[in-house]
Symmetry: C2
Subunit: 499 residues, 2 copies
């Protein structure tokens, strides 16, 4: 710290991050309330600012400042070490990709997204196929330029989950798959079954909004350093640890939509608020991976928010807020929000089958990238996978291989982070229980601060200081494993379903 | 058009404007709902983006592109001519001010704003005085660097009202002052007086919000290219002609607050929406001056929105919306919203006395700048002026010379544009009546589109093509004059007050 070279480097790095936060505002605004007709100019504004952020990162001034800061060394200061390491990683990665390739991908994926929208609407996979083919080619080129050891998939996934390897994911998923399939089967043939009708009661949207604010405040999400809005697709975005924005959506006839969406996004939000504001606009105040991020949202949504202890505390308030829920018992509510059933659509899937949806996508996109699977064979491979894992065959591709937007954006390597989040979450949760004792007893009293503080101390505040595997090792003393997750699932669903 | 030199120039110019629109979003967000604790990081983001916008404008790349575009010439294309002229003006102006001076002013005015806030709170002018002194020094330096012919005030006012001269303003204000004073006196001693109690009925905020949307839609403000939010100080901002944002504020016990604030901001908004989206991010889609902008807001707020014809159409709906207004007659409402009475606070002033508030400020700041008035003598000069024009003496400086934020921001030369707006508005309104015939009859039917179209055709769509004086000459066939405004005021208030 303090050397002129390092200060110059840090100032440029902060400018780069600040531009990314400005981009986050441009995106947030577009999703939450930008006037419809403004889309064209907004695209120009986004292109301009993201171009500037990229130019700054790959520019010679940044390269020189970084090199000079590296030459001065980190002197065992972990902050300096982290800043240098992450800046080098981003800089090198960006320099490996020519501006022309980035523009081509942006252009092709814009068109691919339109084609995908139409293809899904008309259930017409062949219309989307050539665009998918082209995006795969471009992403193969990206992987070649970035470089990898064994599998081009690694180079792409690395953007979302640094240092994670496809072989590791595949091996963990392999051990997980039969166990999940077995669990699904056990719940399907179990003697007790939930009554999903209790979730379909009329709950006025304004009351839902008030109740959601309560849930989020109970988690100690700081609403003076964040806000809640409505958007079509719920998300969490951050403009600094002191400006974290959640969105949700409301369905007056289906309360779980807003509740669990809100808990999920607030879980992401706590991670962002737990980063150190003193390091704003640097890697130390940046999340370490998408998978770790997802572990926070899944933990609050499912391990906390779908637990019986949580609702022992919250349910009286829920019933007081929504008169239509008066006759529904806590047990029936708790069982219904934990219903397991194979389904066609990922984003509507329950906690258990969700992982199976992810594994299917991981398997297919990895084979697509390595040309073991042809684009034209995707629908058949998809339907076969669904049949094998869930016993369901999609009636059409719109409810099959065309359901997700990710591939049309060229985001190959993103899907596994969703399921890694579930696995990390279970490993962190075990470690938290080891340190905090009877968390259920705390939840029953409405005391969520111990867990939040533990996560802040052990996960959030480190930002990018530790890569996912190192963080996991430090916090849980383990490598990535499916066992804690399976133990958590069995511990919850066996008593519920009574199988 | 079409030359490579011009295209390069235009691309850079558009980038500069786009950055200014991004800044507008950062500001809008800060005023409408940014989390409290985000202020620090937001200041960094704003400093970064405004620095980039400035660097782009003064940079050698822009200078070279501009020079090469100028060399190619405009070939009588008015769009090219406008772009070259305004870019040259902004570039030269920006180049005349060293980065160091700009930073010093930003720094000093940040501190001055805090000092002003405290001084106003504690009614302690001497605490603010040294900051005002320092800002005047800095702004005198700006004026010297920018250059001027007769009066340093011209150099500062030029930023807000291009080519307007202090001598012209002074001469027009001189003719206006005694006429306004006389009109105030006439209403004060008139036989009829309005009952202001009718404005103090309870009107629920949600109903006000719905009614405001109706008023704005009736003006044909396009809500698919704009939005309405709440902020402490109402404003209008634009991120392109297709993204125009209004704010207002609500007082459940005082309906006029939101109604006339909304009409005012929507008047600004129609100007912004009337700019040509095909020229987005260029001078052709930028307002020509603050005074012309204000003419649009004042026209809709006062000439339309406080006319009897307007309320003949709108009042039944108002009464249907607010049950507390059931017993108030149209005549009483119309008289009350047009009440004239001398008052201490500018932002609460009526249509007639408002001009007197402005003249006082114009006179004082002009004398301050030329050192004919010492900072320490401001309170006395202020109070003397108030007594002479309004027959009132402020009980303290908080309600006197400390009431406005403008001087603490160094915004000398801004105040006159408020009153110029009133004068332009009357001149435009006469011209509109000449072309459109009986506008009152149109308003009575709720037909506001003819006026909006006329303004769009004659004022809005030209953007910066014409400077204010030229625009006025083209539209009204006149130079700046106080007579149309006085004729409008007399025509309204004489029959109302029956003097």
């Amino acid at each position: 710290m303090g050397s002129a070279g390092y200060d110059r480097f840090l100032a440029l790095l902060k400018d780069h991050y600040s531009l990314r936060y400005v981009l986050a505002l441009l995106d947030w605004d577009q999703e939450t309330g930008m006037p419809l007709r403004a889309a064209g100019e907004r695209a120009n504004q986004i292109a301009l600012v993201s171009g500037m952020a990229h130019d700054l990162l790959v520019g010679d001034a940044f390269a020189a400042a970084l090199a000079s800061a590296e030459a001065a060394g980190a002197n065992d200061d972990p902050v300096v070490e982290t800043n240098l390491r992450e800046a080098r990683r981003d800089h090198d990665r960006a320099r490996k990709l020519p501006q022309e390739l980035i523009k081509t991908i942006a252009h092709v994926s814009t068109i691919a997204k339109s084609a995908w929208t139409e293809a899904r609407r008309d259930n017409d996979f062949p219309r989307f196929a050539p665009h998918l083919e082209r995006l795969l080619e471009l992403k193969r080129e990206v992987a070649e330029r970035i470089g990898y050891e064994d599998d081009p998939y690694d180079a792409l996934m690395d953007e979302f989950e640094p240092e994670m390897r496809a072989a590791t994911v595949a091996s963990v998923f392999e051990s997980l798959r039969p166990q999940l399939v077995e669990l699904v089967e056990a719940t399907r043939s179990a003697p007790r079954q939930p009554d999903l009708g209790v979730l379909r009661r009329n709950c006025p949207v304004d009351d839902q909004a008030r109740f959601c604010r309560k849930l989020v405040s109970a988690m100690h999400f700081d609403l003076t350093a964040g806000r809640i809005d409505v958007s079509t697709h719920p998300f969490c975005t951050s403009l600094s640890p002191l400006d974290v924005r959640l969105t949700t959506r409301y369905d007056a006839e289906y309360l779980p939509q807003s509740l669990f969406g809100m808990l999920h996004e607030a879980g992401h939000g706590l991670y962002e608020q737990g980063l150190d504001p003193a390091h704003a606009s640097t890697p130390m105040a940046h999340y370490t991976s998408m998978g770790i991020h997802e572990s926070q949202s899944r933990m609050w949504e499912n391990m906390v928010g779908r637990s019986r202890a949580y609702w022992e505390h919250m349910y009286p308030d829920l019933q007081a807020t929504f008169s239509s829920m008066a006759g529904v018992s806590l047990d029936d509510w708790h069982f219904a929000i934990n219903a397991v059933r194979p389904s066609l659509i990922r984003v509507e899937a329950d906690e258990v089958t969700y992982g199976l949806h992810i594994m299917l996508r991981f398997d297919l996109e990895r084979r697509l990238l390595s040309k073991q699977l042809e684009v034209r064979d995707v629908p058949e491979a998809w339907n076969t996978g669904m049949q094998q894992m869930m016993g369901l065959t999609p009636p059409d591709d719109a409810r099959g291989c065309l359901q997700d937007i990710h591939w049309s954006m060229g985001a190959f390597g993103y899907f596994p982070t969703y399921q890694l989040g579930n696995l990390y979450a279970a490993q962190f949760f075990d470690a938290a229980r080891r340190d905090l004792g009877d968390m259920d007893a705390q939840f029953r009293k409405g005391s969520f601060e111990p867990l939040r503080e533990w996560l802040r101390e052990n996960v959030h505040r480190h930002g990018q200081r530790f890569r996912p595997a190192e963080l996991l090792q430090r916090v849980a003393g383990q490598e990535l494993s499916a066992e804690p997750y399976m133990a958590y699932l069995r511990g919850k669903f066996q008593p519920l379903y009574g199988y």
